[in-house]
Amino acid sequence: MRLSSPEDLELYREQLLRRVKPQRWVRVCAGTGCLAGGSQRVYEALVEEARRIGLDSPVKFQARCSGCHGFCEEGPLVVCGMRGSEVLYRKVRREDALEILLALADDRVVERLLYRDGREVYREERHIPFYALQMRKVLERCGKVDPRDVDHYISLGGYASLARALSMSPEEVIDLVTRAGLRGRGGGGFPAGQKWASCRSASGPQKFVLANGDEGDPGAFMDRSLMEGDPHSILEGMIIGAHAVGASKGFIYVRDEYPLAVENLTHAIREARRLGLLGRRILGSDLSFDVDICRGGGAFVCGESSALMASIEGRPGEPRVKYIRSTERGLWECPTVLNNVETWANVPIIIREGVEGYRSLGTKDSPGTKVFSLVGKVRRSGLVEVPMGTTLREIIFEIGGGVMGRNRFKAVQTGGPSGGCLPESKLDLPVDFDRLTREGSMMGSGGMIVMDHRSCMVDVARYFVKFLEGESCGKCAPCREGLKAMGEILEDLCSRRGRPGDVEMLLSMGNALTDTALCGLGQTAANPVLSTLRHFMEEYREHQDQGFCRAGVCRGMFVARVEADLCVSCGACAKVCPFDAIHRDPSGKFAVDQRCEGCGACLDVCPMGALLPSPRGVRE
């Protein structure tokens, strides 16, 4: 069946909505996290048991899969629908299927599977603090819609924005996006409307729109969840973009390590083609546009725009010098618009809500919402969508529930390897593109790694520099040679081989690398070092001058010391010490002797936090 006009689409939507709704339903999360936890088997068990107990008539009951809810640490997640309420079960196993169904049939709730936080028990997802403070726009349907069913997407209002956009002229669409102030969600924050306008006015035999789904930052999974959970929203955005800039072909560049994203997007494209939402004369308009998927081989640098285009063209995924923008000369030298998948998913929202509606969230210069993946030493981790301008404190402490265990907050790393670390004093910083950049970090694609006082900032810088050293394509000299040199000094600092002048050398090399590297990866590669130098200089000095790591991370750069007041004599430290350096002293408390090699094992196990790293040689 082909939808040949906007009216067709609306009729089709009405038809779908008139279908009898099941009285009761379950929705099993089939995102990567929950699948790894066994949600496929949970789904199968639910279907199987439903048939066995005679719940399987479409009127009575329906089981569906959905995309990621963003609360993966509690997965597999199952949502049950009954009498207008939606109950969330977490950590569901296959064996729970029958109990869930029987309870569902009687409109009861399985108490033991509900989410708990302290004494509070939560029935519905939206009341859980993790969700309650979020504002889900881009992720609105993620976790609700069945990503493998275009009908479901349409019945939830999908493709209405496309129909509306097609009734507008390309210039009107660009004007709308420009006035809404949409900025690129991939990290740079470049105004999307400006990009589109420049592509629109560029001349070329053909134009392209591309979606960047080559998410590669350690700890980040926003784009993956969106591609897996709501692929049609990305497609819809791209088709609107194609209409605006006059493109006839699009590619979604997805890294091949995201097999489910590839699968769901492929399926979505096929369904969109079937309905005539892709292909010739979309919804009866003059727009002819098709999308293909291009799978990336996993090189981090392929997320950089020129490397991504090189990769699509079939050349090695290496960036090129681009003093001429890709909106003028991009893919195959044609005018090209490349946006992150999250940026594309924002487009239908803008069309639907208009400039004022869209701008009602976020800040003046960074309107709308942003999805972050909140991970690290935080109590509740997962995908978080908040309006721009929300403070780091709100995200980490209110939504994330603060730092895990009894540890103290130390820093938050934003923006992935190209971003930086911000200390506690910056927690009240409203998160938007410009503020983060001003403080030496950046929005990046939205990774947010929380660190406590057991994270060594020199070690963190070392980790990211070594990561980027491995991911540098090696094309330009500063990145290839400079990261190696910086990595060497950082390795030395983290293993008691620091020398006077190291910190200054790191600083000057970092600044020079930022100035000279060829592409965005190299130009931002020094950020983890520069931002930690800026906010945590004392730690670098301690590493360099005293060979001391206050976090107790860098091996051999501290010795453990028992804070007697805190020690409860449990003996966990003595048990785990590989050097037999911890023994009970006459008072019954434990103490560390000179055999301590500074491995940190006891620091990790002490339930009271009574073991502290202290400089070597202090005790002698």
Binding site: W332, C473, G474, C476, A477, R480, M509, A512, D515, T516
Partner: protein, 240 residues
């Protein structure tokens, strides 16, 4: 249009590359990966200069940067440029301490002190500028390319085996700025990239001057390699 280089007004054509404009005006700028007969890539970052575009200052690779803004201001020896240049030359010198070309560059323009860093093992003269790869592709053989990435990036033939694609034309060795690519020639034979080529003698003077494969490549280039097929595909797409 007019641009300003170190306070000097230059009259240039729009889209001329800064490096070319500066050199023809007698301004001295170092460069390594740039070669007049090859497409530019801007990878060595030695030719960087500072530009002022409507009040925004940044460093650019002058060999790639087209003059497009009327009244563009270019600075070739600000402190920022000098720090950047010394940084890059210092890093290259650290990797290729034996290279006379890099040494000369360091003597003329200065180099960051890298004595803090451990010496690099192995005697490698390659600075990964890619001139050889571009020369090989420009000539039409495409027998060598970069393998691996980052620090391990190196120029080699496919799988580092002697390759039949190589025609022994010496374009790569000719353009190498550091003398990394070597070859041997004696008694009508030439050895390069692990292969031995017989040299064809000039019909008039009888001196050996080129390999048979090289001459064949120039004469008959009918077959299309997979890479070109892909390019054709791209062009077809572009032209609808």
């Amino acid at each position: 249009m007019k641009i300003w280089v170190d306070g000097r007004e230059l009259d240039v054509e729009r889209d001329v590359l800064l490096y070319d404009a500066m050199v023809s005006a007698g301004v001295e700028v170092p460069a390594l990966c740039r070669h007049g007969g090859l497409p530019h890539e801007g990878t060595c970052r030695v030719c960087m200069v500072e530009v002022d575009i409507r009040g925004k200052r940044r460093l650019v690779a002058s060999c790639m940067y087209p003059a497009r803004d009327q009244g563009l201001k270019v600075y070739t020896s600000t402190r920022r440029v000098e720090v950047a240049r010394r940084f890059v030359i210092g890093l290259l010198l650290r990797r290729n301490p034996a290279s006379p070309a890099i040494r000369a560059l360091a003597d003329r323009w200065g180099a960051m002190d890298t004595s803090r860093l451990s010496p690099v093992e192995g005697k490698d003269l390659c600075i990964r500028c890619g001139r050889c790869v571009r020369a090989c592709a420009t000539f039409g053989a495409r027998a060598i390319s970069f393998a691996n990435r980052g620090w391990d990036r190196e120029v080699c033939t496919p799988l580092k085996e002697p390759t039949l694609i190589c025609v022994g034309c010496l374009s790569c060795a000719e353009v190498c700025p550091t003398g990394h690519i070597t070859y041997r020639e004696s008694q009508g034979e030439r050895q390069i990239w692990g292969r031995t080529f017989h040299l064809v003698r000039c019909s008039r003077c009888g001196d050996p001057f080129a390999t048979r494969e090289q001459l064949e490549l120039v004469r008959d280039r009918g077959d299309v390699c997979p890479r070109c097929l892909r390019e054709e595909e791209g062009l077809a797409l572009r032209d609808g």
